[in-house]
């Protein structure tokens, strides 16, 4: 029995027929979606010329539509959003209170100032609105404009708001988007698209959005769609598999913007122990970085390096802060963090293994799958550190920062650091090893879309940067007059 249906949205038209079943995850009942093979031909834009309508409207008008859209996404009033919440309750790993919180905050993502900030800080509205001119040293005048592109998006399903961000980025760059629905967030993109069709029927922004589910890796669909004649860019978030699926289609004319699988780290300096108050604050900040979104995010804290030393005194401190962090973790309000809906069975086994190995690990909590803090009694993280999830963190006491840089690599996205002085000390080193974002402890999961992401500028890269040059022979040396040497 299917638990829900994911309609298809093709440029304003809602497809709710030709249902075919898709497999289930977590033992839930599976779902249905219109047969993607039947509609694959209609997903891409017929011709690039069809992008022209986006250039007949102003940036302000695009923002107006997005702002209206945001207002209409109120989960108390919007039936599409309510439907999406129901589906997410089945398909997503989050408990109801957190899901509700995520949908409640969605309208704020469409706030006018927030959208303008993204456009201005990541690209520059002038570049989106017209040609920005500059004279180069050799005398030529160049005029640069950021054009949109035909893009296919494979958004992550764990972030909750990734679909919303994708739709905003698509609109402000005057791009055309085909959004592949992630099975762990099945209905958010559809709910936004349907609402967009309600508030702005036939508007170019609406006509440049398609949303569909097909099974990731389905070559019937992907071989057909992932071609330079249909899309110029693929924006792929997430897991190794989803990015790997896509790479086989990359060729000249089809670019991959990869927001790779990521993990994050945390570094806490000895200053945390300066007073009881400080320790308390550091603990609640660390707990927030672990617990937010139930540790499902790539920015979530997992391994926490503690610069407390590895002598008996250092280990004692590590255990002390471990206890404190655990207390704060289980005390987080339930709209931010809860006992996870699913707890990884393998991780539970490893946790129990560590619990029995008290010479090397102290496991605090976790007996009810509510989350746990594993304090290493030596300067090594647990061997299963890549599995940490469901609010389980590992505190690793270290003598010096060398041990920490060893742990930072190309997979490292966010590094939450306490105190600020330590962050400044590390900020020119950690990026060399791979770290992409350094932030104040407690803010790891508090992200905004108005920043570079994963060490790249995805919004800039979504644009095509076109140059119009004007070369006056009076000012720019004419090649045809080059004398023979």
């Amino acid at each position: 029995m299917s638990a829900f249906r994911i309609p298809m949205f093709i440029r304003g038209e809602i497809i709710e027929e030709d249902w075919v079943p898709f497999g289930a995850r977590n033992g839930a009942g599976g779902f249905e979606a219109p047969d993607p093979a039947k509609y694959v031909d209609r997903l891409p834009l017929a011709t690039p010329m069809d992008l022209a309508d986006l250039y007949e409207i102003s940036f302000d008008e695009i923002v107006d539509v997005l702002v209206e859209l945001g207002k209409a996404l109120d989960p108390d009033k919007n039936a599409h959003v309510q439907e999406a919440m129901k589906a997410a309750a089945i398909a997503a790993p989050y408990p109801p209170a957190m899901l509700r919180n995520s949908y409640t905050t969605m309208p704020y993502v469409f706030d006018r100032d927030a959208i303008v900030e993204i456009a201005e800080s990541r690209i520059g509205v002038d570049y989106l609105e017209g040609w920005v001119s500059r004279t180069l040293r050799d005398g030529r005048e160049i005029r640069v404009r950021a054009f949109g592109a035909r893009a296919l998006h494979v958004p992550a399903g764990n972030g909750g708001l990734v679909s919303a961000i994708t739709i905003i980025r698509n609109a402000i760059t005057r791009s055309d988007a085909i959004v592949k629905v992630p099975s762990n967030d099945p209905m958010t993109a559809i709910a936004i698209a349907k609402t967009l069709a309600d508030v702005a029927p036939n508007h170019p922004v609406t006509k440049h959005l398609a949303v569909a589910y097909w099974k990731g890796g389905d070559t019937r669909i992907e071989e057909h769609l992932y071609r330079p004649e249909h899309v110029e860019k693929i924006v792929a978030w997430g897991g190794f598999a989803s990015v790997k699926h896509v790479t086989r289609y990359i060729q000249p004319g089809l670019e991959l913007i990869s927001l790779d699988p990521k993990r994050s780290a945390t570094i806490i300096g000895p200053e945390a122990f300066e007073s009881e108050e400080t320790l308390d604050e550091v603990a609640v900040r660390a707990a927030t970085d672990i617990g937010m979104a139930n540790q499902e995010a790539c920015a979530s804290a997992r391994v926490i390096y503690l610069l407390c030393g590895t002598d008996a005194d250092g280990i004692e401190r590590a255990n002390r802060i471990g206890e404190r962090i655990y207390q704060k973790l289980v005390g987080l309000p339930e709209h931010l963090s809860t006992k996870p809906r699913y707890f990884d069975r393998d991780l539970r086994d490893h946790l129990e293994g560590s619990r029995m190995t008290e010479d090397f690990y102290r496991v605090i909590g976790g007996e009810e799958d509510e989350g746990a803090v594993i304090v290493s009694q030596m300067d090594e993280p647990v061997d299963y550190a890549p599995m940490l999830s469901g609010r389980v963190a590992n505190i690793v006491p270290v003598d010096d920062i060398k041990k920490v840089t060893d742990a930072v690599n190309a997979y490292t996205q966010t590094v939450g650091i306490y105190p600020e002085s330590l962050k400044r000390e590390l900020r020119n080193q950690l990026p060399l090893f791979g770290a992409q974002r350094l932030t104040s402890l407690g803010y790891a999961c508090h992200v905004t879309s108005a920043m570079p992401q994963d060490a790249i500028e995805p919004v800039r890269r979504m644009c095509k940067w076109i140059v119009d040059e004007e070369c006056d022979p009076e000012r720019v040396f004419p090649l045809w007059q080059t004398p023979a040497l």
Binding site: G159, F240, K244, R263, A297, D346, M356, M378, D383, S389
Partner: protein, 473 residues
Amino acid sequence: MGNRTLDTFMNDPIAYFDASITKMHMIPRDGLESLQREAMRTRVAQHRASIEMVKNLADRLGIDEVQEFDDVVPLLFAHTAFKSYPAALLDNKRFDLMTKWLQKHTPHDLSQVPTEGLDSIEAWIEALDEHSNLRPITSSGTTGTISIIPKDKHGGHYAMRLWRLFLFQEFFKEPKEEDLNPVVDVIWPQFADGKLGHLRMVGLLKNEFTGNDESRFHPLYNASINTDLMFLASKLRAAASRGELDRVKIDPKLLEKKEEFEQLEANRPAELQRFFERMTNELRGKRVFMTGTYALMHEIAKEGLARGVKHVFAKNSAILTGGGLKGHVLPENYMETIKEFMGVDRIQEGYGMSEISAMHWACPEDKYHVLPFVIPYLLDPETSEALPRKGKQTGRAAFYDFVNVSHWGGIISGDEITIDWDSKCPCGLESVAIEHSIMRYSEKEGVEDDRITCNATQEVHDEAVNFMREYEG
């Protein structure tokens, strides 16, 4: 007649059942269960006092003793218990701490094991072999560690004696002398030695099956698998999952052996050729014992048939396979292919795991009958609570094996199994039977999974393993 005491039942079940596999499986369930309950109580009490890991867990849970079968469930170990040491200890050659860790898993005294100056895992395991009752086995892992299970010498021999019974007897037939003490050629389609679980059997196999006649042992490859190399492989897999392949350091001691390893690899095609020649010439028509996983046996059979060889062995040969498909996809008729090559009517299947000593043998109805000295459990895969021991149940397999003494015998597997508690198997045996379809939860969940997250967790790890497999080849 055997000695029908509890002590014999739990320490020497072969004697208790007069070395008859039929008797082992025909004991009425009620009687068996009360015997098992007594044996369980006794063994748990012994191990609670003598194995520190068990003691600590029981203390923490406030369990002083067990009465009913389900009382032992909270004390079952996950497979992770045998790899709960930090892998860094192996990297840093802290075999003193490794020994200390292993000591907590076994009642055998390890205090006489010298650890000073040991420079490899191989050397450490050899030291354990030499200076204690243990004969540990290892298994490769995917988290950068390897499992180390403190088997002992006695247990290893005993397990092989059981194998011999099941391989050469048939249910409901009184064993003849040739069934009780057969001497056969052993075909071993693997490496000839190593500390990995299945390779550890080699010496025992020779002892139990060939009458210690070295010339009757026919390995595919003459080489030994190096444990330190296996550890490196696990580390590589783990490092790939973390994007840290560039930081993996290879122990110089191991690196010195690189050419040796490469040579072994280079020798393999010739060894494979010799292996087939031996099977088809020297061993043709002989009564043999051969064992390997489904995939391996199928591979050998296919290769043999392609070389135009079939019906090679005597019909009363013992052929044993099992071990799950481990991600291999085999054609539907793989069993027929194996039979055609071997020329036998009967291929035996067994279900077991390194963490317990017992293997459960399949009956003619293809169900795995649980040995009398093992208490099977089905657990809820999410909560690990015991499912009722009645009706038809599917769940996570767990076992308490009380014959095994060298380590705690309670283990939770990663397998989904089905047991019909109330019905008797149509084959006529009294014992509890596990349905033929056994699946690893990890494989089950890998299917149909296309969720996308920006978070590189275990999912990525497993994919990286596959990626490396492709990369190598």
